[in-house]
Amino acid sequence: MAVVRRDVLASPDAQTFLDGVLELSRRGTGVTPTQLNGTEIVQRAPGARVFGPAGELDKPLSWWDLLAWWHFAAMSWPAGVGNRAHRGSIFLPWHRQYLRRLEEAIQTVSGKAGFALPYWNWAQDGTPSNATLLGSPLWSVLGNPRGVVNTGPVGQLRVRLLNSSADGRLYVGPPRPIWRDAGRGADGLPARADETWTLADGLYDGTPWNEGADSFRNKLEGFQDPREGARRPAPWMHNRIHMWVGGEMAPGTSPNDPLFWLNHCNVDRIWEGWMTRRGRTYLPPANQGPAGQRANDPLFSIVWPSLKASEVLDATESGLDWYRYDALPG
């Protein structure tokens, strides 16, 4: 049954989302960092190795931690261009699969089969000042935007993995709260006009298929200014959300912050809007383009079965029957 994803500020599922995040952070997997370090995954993607004191390496991770490790392993695993989840065509399909697995996990732990991930419609209000953004009602739901998050339900969240931007390593420590540094890295969020310009690009992706491509995917991922000939400060769209929030959202363990999922749900919504307008097409096709980014290359997954990019293009009732959005941009 396809569920309906709604704006987090109006979604009846917002509380279930927060409860589900906390439940997954408390629920152990029995899988330790030491065990992960011994896997073929780390052999193939050495950057996914977890470092830390022996006592921490041998303590099982929570489900929430394991989800963050999955993301980090994907971005540590090089593809023909970019990695198995970013800086290439696979960015949108990979994150669609990833978000759906969290949605299913929360449906399981909450016992609510109708639960749908909410999205953060960050272009809703244009580009207000940072001062306005820091006063958004979003923070009353998601916890404080600056410093260690100690307010609201997210203030109870505890995580153990952290990617250091100083040395690039992935560390494990005792359970700790998450942190944010909103507004330091960028002034303002993407505006409705940025969204409109992004959607106006009719090419899903093209050569060189990476962060240098002139395409819808690259504009939405945020390495290319969507406003042709009207350069604005980088980065744009998806990337700008990570940089604007900062803190936990900055390094490769960004799924630690529940806000990661609300950002990507909105990114997925924009992609859905593009496909609704342009058709459910994907590039590069199965027999062209860089390895790991092609239509029939499997999407890297742990725990859950893997799908292909070509298999996740229609998440609605007419396809996978996973979800649809209450409203699409464009």
Binding site: G30, S165, R176, P235, P298
Partner: protein, 137 residues
Amino acid sequence: MEGAKEPDRLDELLGRFVDGGYSAEGAAVEGIDLGDAGHGGHHEHGGHGGHGEPSVREVRYRGHEIRIATHYEVTIDGETWTGPIQVMPDGSVVSHHLPQYVVPSALDLVRAVIDQSYEAPEEIQAVFRAGSDGGEG
């Protein structure tokens, strides 16, 4: 919300993952083998400034081949910072250490690294210290 008393879908999936030796779904991709990732952590392809290698931009202009190799030497408080820096075609820079950041210069990037690590709250810095002081991997 209470934890499930009976095994549920997550338990079932996890059981398969563990019984299967923690194998990755979708690991095998034609054209990607161990050699692609087997020489270190945060690999950057194509002369993208990883592991002390220069960041290389190669373009053709009016029939001429242009190659620009950029090498950075960065120290923070006298200590060498070895993070990869990739120069984009327009001169802005990105780094795998802050994967979504696109900033005008290497100086902006290093400032961001300081903001997000050296000047992070004490709870965050404690994780880095514990991991790098005698930590294993």
